[in-house]
Symmetry: C2
């Protein structure tokens, strides 16, 4: 591939002609002589000095120095992140194995700023020789190379928690795991060699299973000692576990906080979420560089084979359409394509109508469960939820669900409360940086009868619940706290919010009309006895007849009011 030639440099001749000015510009004359001399002396060496300093940086070293990128900014957030990474893994593993999850979280305080965290699950367990890498190497995992909805996706989280433990307490991460097909379980104590991004097994035990009550027949338990801080409140571990239970009604979660009673969230559904299937990339979402790579690496022989086998939603007929649109034959051999033909093929894809990617890689919570979740937590007058149809950003299928609770006991003078979820994981931090927040702020709530200061969240007695389910959620950082601002995602969230907004609007108008009519009614009602009394005197009715007249008047009033309400509601 490499051509070595000595040529006069002409390849850069396309520099603009005005560039001639640059040479004439007297900038260098401005420098004082001494400085120029000095700079010359230094320049002689700098390129070589710099060359000596150039070094590879391991991903562990990088994240050790940038641990805030992974959610370990401060001790209270570190506690939350540690629990979150372990619980995410447990829930993913259980679902992958078709097991209804049962998770036990134990947090104990050891010293002023030191806590031990243990998370245990009834998942499938981990094969012995994989344990060190999964817990002692960043960027190692099963989910990255698959397009499938999962909580974890990067292979960073749990190893990062272990690295944080090691950084702050010097203690290794401890793993106990058992798979069903083996009698014994394995226990490891693992540290990370940051320079190599590789696990160091500090201790390894094989433990004969003795029908012990701690682990089930299979499962994994992870334990760490970390510098941390335990706080209550909306950003707390308690809040995270509560919201996790909300978004995962099929899981039983038992939580021993460092202080106070243990909490048990019983599963409310015995059905596992619809299993999400891995899918192939969709042609609309593939970028030119990736397309070229796929062409080079495919085992397919012909264009037709290539398109139908490497992509989702490409039938032989569609493959033919793509090929023909650039005057190629679908039977053309892949190996004979020129670079310009490849680029032409790529550019023709958006012009061919191709079905949206299959949505069975997605597993929504569902509007009914969202409404139940909201009802469990908030006393409101109106609950509503919507699950949008799946759609695509950069070829990745995703869907948005939104729910609202309105009125009732919710505070009416505050900005609305937001609950954000991605693949059923609650997002507690970086609310202001999240696409969900941006979508809420940029929705015009005034048209739905809500107050909204310019560029801010709407104000009113409302909670907004938003969930994105995707084979690949684009987060704004590795700590996965906020969703990036992709226009397709923003649009879908807005559409979901607008549907909720309309319901709120109808509810508010109805309530207002109801209140108005109630006011009128009570006003008229006040006079009914007087009218009755007047009629009795005029018509010389007795007490019983007067009562009947009053009742008739009340009934008539009630009927006409209902009619108006029904008419207005149409």
């Amino acid at each position: 591939m490499v051509k070595k030639t000595a040529v006069q440099m002409d390849i850069f001749k396309e520099i603009p002609q005005t560039g001639e000015n640059i040479k004439e510009n007297p900038v260098s004359e401005k420098r004082d002589e001494r400085q120029v001399k000095e700079s010359r002396k230094q320049t002689q060496d700098t390129a070589h000095i710099l060359a000596q300093k150039q070094r590879e940086i391991s991903i562990s070293e990088f994240f050790l120095k940038n641990r805030h990128l992974l959610g370990f900014d401060n001790p209270s957030k570190a506690l939350l992140t540690t629990v979150k990474e372990a619980v995410d893994n447990s829930l993913d593993a259980c679902e992958e194995a078709g097991i209804l999850p049962e998770i036990i979280i134990v947090i104990r305080q050891i010293a002023e700023n030191r806590f031990s965290v243990s998370v245990e699950d009834n998942g499938p367990g981990i094969v012995k020789n994989q344990i060190p890498k999964i817990f002692g190497k960043l960027l190692y995992g099963s989910k990255f190379h698959t397009l499938k909805q999962a909580r974890g996706q990067q292979g960073i989280g749990i190893s990062a928690a272990g690295m944080y433990a090691q950084l702050t307490t010097g203690k290794p991460i401890r793993i106990l795991s058992k798979i069903r097909s083996q009698q014994e379980s394995h226990q490891f104590e693992i540290q990370i060699d940051a320079r190599k991004n590789a696990p160091v097994v500090v201790r390894e035990d094989t433990i004969i299973w003795s029908n012990n009550d701690v682990l089930k027949e299979h499962g994994t338990k992870v334990e760490m000692e970390i510098e941390a801080n335990y706080k209550k409140g909306s950003h707390s571990v308690d809040g995270y576990i509560f919201q996790t239970a909300l978004a995962n009604p099929h899981a039983t979660i038992i939580y021993y906080p460092p202080e106070g009673e243990f909490v048990k969230y019983e599963r409310v559904s015995n059905e596992l979420p619809v299993e999400s299937k891995p899918i192939k990339p969709h042609p609309y979402g593939v970028e030119l560089g990736i397309f070229i790579k796929m062409i080079h690496e495919t085992k397919a022989k012909t264009l037709r084979q290539f398109f139908t086998s490497e992509f989702s939603r490409v039938s032989p007929r569609i493959a033919q359409q793509i090929a023909e649109s650039v005057n190629l034959n679908a039977d053309q051999r892949i190996s004979s394509l020129s670079p310009s033909q490849i680029e032409l093929l790529y550019q023709s894809i958006p012009k061919i109508k191709i079905m949206a990617p299959p949505s069975n890689c997605l597993s929504p919570i569902g509007d009914q469960l969202i409404i139940s979740a909201l009802k469990r937590q908030f006393k409101a007058d109106l609950y509503y939820a919507v699950t949008r149809p799946p759609t695509v950003y950069r070829g990745n299928p995703f869907l948005i669900e939104a729910g609202i609770a309105y009125g009732g006991e919710l505070p009416s003078e505050e900005p609305v409360e937001i609950m954000r979820f991605a693949n059923r994981v609650p997002l507690l931090y970086q609310q202001s940086a999240c696409a969900m927040t941006k979508a809420i702020v940029s929705t015009s709530w005034r048209s739905y009868n809500l107050q909204q200061p310019k560029g801010s969240l709407p104000v009113g007695p409302m909670v907004i619940f938003i969930h994105i389910a995707s084979a690949w959620v684009p987060f704004t950082s590795e700590s996965k706290e906020a969703v990036a601002h992709y226009p397709e995602i923003l649009k879908e969230i807005r559409l979901a919010l607008m549907e909720c907004g309309r319901q709120v609007s109808i509810h508010i108008s109805r309530t207002r009309r109801f209140m108005d009519q109630e006011k009128k009614k009570s006003y008229i009602e006040k006079y009914i006895p007087h009218i009755g009394e007047a009629l009795r005197e005029i018509l010389e009715l007795n007490k019983a007849e007067e009562e009947r007249v009053n009742n008739t008047l009340r009934e008539t009033l009630e009927k006409s009011r209902t009619k108006i309400v029904l008419k207005e509601a149409d």
Copy 2:
């Protein structure tokens, strides 16, 4: 290190006693039989199936999928990021070599969504065999392992831009570089093998230098073809280059935009910024895990040698104090320390008074240059800037500079405008996620006579300029667009803002008093002629005498007004 034993598991016996409840809870009975059976069948295999899927993820693959983390979210941001990464490198290289930078940026439109970007500098150039790795491998660079202020720090940026070019246009990144000590220059065309995170040299030429006008005697030129979108406005390349010139008055920058005339920002200062020196870590900022690692890896023999050679600001006397505080001798051999002694030593450090780290690793812009920069851009009534003394977060020295322009022609009904810089690099995106914004919002501007809606930016005719200079700026993402919320950094920014706020407050009060007095004065002045007229009639003065009386009255009024102002200003 690895002990292999088969034991009954007792190490987990510390599970809380209430844990007994868990076993008794009848959760599993709730599952319906069919489901349990199914799950069993699946479980048998899942651990092994998962094991087969476990794979290493290369850092290039990771960022390819998460390119928004690096600032390549969309075509217009990608254009900005590409220019920024190249310019940051050029400025860093020039300063490292003691060269006054001269940078030529050329952006040309090739097709509707396709642009070529070229950035050329007069820096020291790059040694030939380093070129492929620097431009074709993520996490490779000279700045990561040094504590020193620089624009680049991660060794990701320029390779990521190249990867983006490859992804969107399939074209390699092209580099031309010459170092002073060699006659020939080298030209490379490089792609990245994402799976290996390694450079692929597509083409390599040696070019004999022919006194060509394009590159100087030494320098580097980087050229890329990318999918992009050229926009004007505050988030644009134009804006970035303008702000870069503001914060780097020692650089000459020539910019050929894709449309319109070229722009030349002449340097306004012939002095290079104070050279920032690399420093050693400060004891206060080192974490236990790092401390343990340093103890294990040091070449020092004794505690005294260890502390004085591996840290900054530790004199032999301080080393002795640390050792003695835990009843150790400073001559104690490092190799003889027990783990618990190491932890005790570590814990004693915060109790010993140690000088703040040296600030010569920092290179502030300076209050005077900030004021000049603000004056050049904004027509205001008041300019003020402050450079805070250096301080420390997690052992990393940093300093904050803040400047304000107030009044004049600035819009008075809008939230204030914010200009953010980190190590002289303008930050254009993610304003709401930045510590600088948080510090502004959480400062009480009402006490400085400014309006401020709750939880929002202050409103008024003001621009706020904030610069953080640090040996390691903690960004919220790899794209380096916002500063993370470290409490020490927030505090320093607030202190700088408060100093600016006080000046604004004084200015506003003074203006108000001045206005009040002007009003009073004009009110009294209105009556002076009438008084003069009355006096003339009573005292029978002539026209000239009346005029004298009027003048005397005016002078007296002026004097007393000045006296009041001076008195109030005390």
